[in-house]
Subunit: 473 residues, 2 copies
């Protein structure tokens, strides 16, 4: 197997690594997977060695009295340097053999890019099947890539119309949020009233790992239409707001590695330096996970609600997870306005039917729009502020901006009428606001306690009082 | 203590790190040392946690049958994922707490430079006193710096007269091999027939971490005088040889981290691309450790030789380490030509006295030069090819070029007549030759077996046959 050669020290390394990556690219998906499994299993760590070191270490612990006061041992003692020595050896022994291959590729021209492709493949294999050895390899590689791609190694580059066509081509190809239709569209996004910045890494030249598009505006835009089609842009000296309207990463193999961590902060610093009159920094962001969350919630509640009409299941716990997502007047309005094709036994079923109807019919009826707007906006606020996973916002974009130190500022109805916008978030968009003086503080409190800062407008949607007000009118 | 704050997550991180580094710079050496000791001891790893994990791990080993066949366990088993999980946790637990501080500084503007200064301080403290906890911290920091400064993160930059004065000033300040006297001297080293390349890192802007000076010549120069004063240089199209005549690193805190690893290879590639007529790549290098090694050898042998005239010490092992470094005719010639001030009982004593005489008097006597040349050249070849430490060449510059894949090509007498050249190597210089087609092969064989490639001329000096030839004439 190619791999064996690549781990042999007596060969010419560069040629072997080139052969390895070329060989890899020529393999079918099935064979790539086989190769990666061999790598994960046969080039894993030496568990016998680890065990030996562990025993040595525990032997030391016993000698030291075993009372957990090892750090009080006299610094110059032989014992203490034995600790350091075994800990050092343990760190070494806990590195799987494939670490050597990763390190070598990192030092090899084009190697970092290759490793990123390797990880993209692994991630896609793991999506179909959870193989623990491959999962361990994936995690290990991710950690390595994170270290190599630390912000210290990334260079902030302003992308302009003067950049090479091959770089600009990548911007077009990778723009994931609001697709770029043609060269004119691209030119506009790099022209007056617009900025584009990317992080470049020395060893992946001419290809930003992540890039951000900025519009210079008078006010924080509510809808993406205003940003994409505000022809002509305002003169730059009149701008007071820098709006981040698109952030895209270009390498699927770097998923989960927070490349954008310092990007926004550094871009803010740059923009402030060049344009001191700009004082507001905000995003206009999609809410990519909202509809998925809402539809699954509606579907499961519909099932539970149906169960209500049948016998109570044994143990009577059937209704524990039941929850009417709708408030009474929302329910009423939905039931009244539902067309025949989308009828249902209750408001949630109607809502589910409406939202999943073909061609988003509900968006062309004023009545349906007005019936859907209140619950969709309210539940969106709940989704963003309260639905969490591991203490972090469930929505990936929300999590990204919150960990960067922003707050949830404003939700806007029908702010993205594109098919994608309707499918992901029912057309709702959100402004995250970066208040320069609070960025660090907000990032830290989100990081340590999961606390999400939000404007009072957005918070109001999630208040219990609102329920009372709503039933009162 | 500043440090405690910096590890507190609720504060504004950037400000704290700035405070920390400013605070550090304001401390006296003594207090810096104290701070670093606190860091090394109180922010070490949690040994109780490590011990817990070790026990869990050994528990698993026992369950798996203890027959060392863990890798045969079925991949999907719960046991196997437990292995991976504990190994992952162990890796994490084996990181000392101060790792957090290092990581944060690496992500902080100017942080990498600060860490390099920190390590420079630690190294100088350790020179005076070996403190195991500080040694462990130093080693850990070195490993981190190595990862962050992998060649993938370094950018090769050709330094020219068009670079900023602040960058060029650093070249003047850090040139460690052949000091630059003034701006004209510098301009010459960047002018026609010369090249200068440096490795830059994104997070230490405007300051090459290491740089190399190249002269374009017709032939491989033997002496540094030819290179520094060949005014005017030859027209570049006539050059067939690129001579690396100086390599300097600028950060004492990065000592021991091989930054030059790929520098020479990349420079060769660049030069070949721009000047296809250049086919010879060689260095003209100092031999910084030669005299130190030789003088201590001579001194100890003189002592042993004196002991010979006294009684044999008990056990009779006194002469085991005795060795006449000189061959018979070298001995004869030295004894005959020694002036009264440098007299001695034997050749080695005379040699020692000559080499340590004030103002290098021996260099102004033709007779002494001719008496010293044969043993100094011969012993120099032995020093370079045979004296090793841990399987690597004892001489640091030799080790650097050999691990980069060069061979020892030629020794030249009186090739550096500067005070420094005489003091370090008795004026001898060496050409290491980079044969493009063998670079990888030589680097690998040196790395794996310690084998040093050398031209037959140089090898001849160290041959036993030479002894016979010498006594025969």
């Amino acid at each position: 197997m190619d791999l064996a050669i690549s781990l042999n020290k007596t060969e010419s390394l560069d040629a072997v690594l080139d052969d390895f990556s070329e060989g890899y690219f020529s393999l079918s998906n099935e064979n790539r997977k086989k190769l990666l499994l061999v790598l994960a299993k046969e080039y894993d760590l030496n568990r016998n060695q680890v065990r030996e070191l562990l025993k040595q270490y525990l032997g030391l612990e016993l000698q030291s009295g075993n009372e957990g006061e090892a750090s009080n041992v006299d610094d110059g003692s032989v014992l203490f340097s034995a600790f350091y020595r075994i800990e050092k050896n343990l760190r070494q022994a806990l590195k799987p053999t494939y670490d050597v291959l990763f390190e070598r590729f990192n030092n090899h021209t084009g190697g970092l890019k290759f490793l990123s492709i390797l990880r993209a493949d692994i991630l896609s294999f793991l999506e179909h099947e959870n193989i623990v050895s491959l999962r361990a390899l994936e995690y290990f590689l991710k950690e390595k890539l994170s270290t190599w791609l630390s912000p210290a190694a990334l260079e902030l580059h302003q992308i302009t119309w003067d950049d090479s066509a091959s770089l600009l081509e990548k911007i077009v190809a990778y723009e994931a949020v609001h697709p770029i239709n043609n060269l004119l569209d691209l030119k506009r996004r790099l022209g007056i009233g617009r900025r584009c910045f990317g992080y470049l890494h020395t060893s992946i030249p001419g290809e930003p790992l992540i890039f951000i598009e900025v519009a210079l505006l008078k006010n924080v835009a509510r809808t993406i239409q205003e940003v994409l089609w505000d022809d002509p842009s305002i003169p730059e000296p009149e701008a007071t707001c820098a709006l981040f309207y698109s952030i895209s990463s270009t390498q699927p193999g770097l998923a989960g590695i927070n490349l954008g961590k310092f990007l926004i902060k550094r871009v803010i610093t740059l923009v402030k330096r060049d344009m001191p009159q700009v004082s507001t920094f905000a995003t206009l962001s999609p809410i990519p996970g909202y509809m998925q969350w809402l539809l699954s919630k509606l579907a499961s509640q519909s099932v539970l609600a149906k169960g209500d009409n049948m016998e109570q299941p044994a143990g009577g716990s059937g209704s524990t997870f039941q929850e009417n997502l709708l408030e009474p007047d929302e329910e009423r309005k939905l039931m009244n306005s539902a067309p025949e094709t989308c009828a249902g036994k209750n408001g949630m079923e109607v809502m589910l039917n409406l939202l999943t109807s073909t061609n988003y019919e509900w968006t062309s009826s004023a009545e349906l729009l007005s019936a859907l707007k209140p619950p969709l906006m309210r539940l969106c606020a709940r989704y963003l502020l309260q639905e969490k996973k591991g203490g972090k916002a469930l929505d990936s974009v929300a999590n990204f901006h919150l960990q960067n130190g922003s707050m949830v500022e404003r939700l806007s109805w029908m702010a993205d009428r594109s098919e994608k916008g309707l499918r992901q978030s029912g057309g709702i968009m959100v402004n995250y606001m970066y208040r320069v003086e609070h960025i660090e503080e907000y990032a830290q409190s989100y990081f340590s306690t999961g606390h999400i800062h939000a404007s009072s407008d957005v918070r109001l949607y999630t208040m219990p009082q609102k329920e009372h007000e709503a039933t009162a009118d």
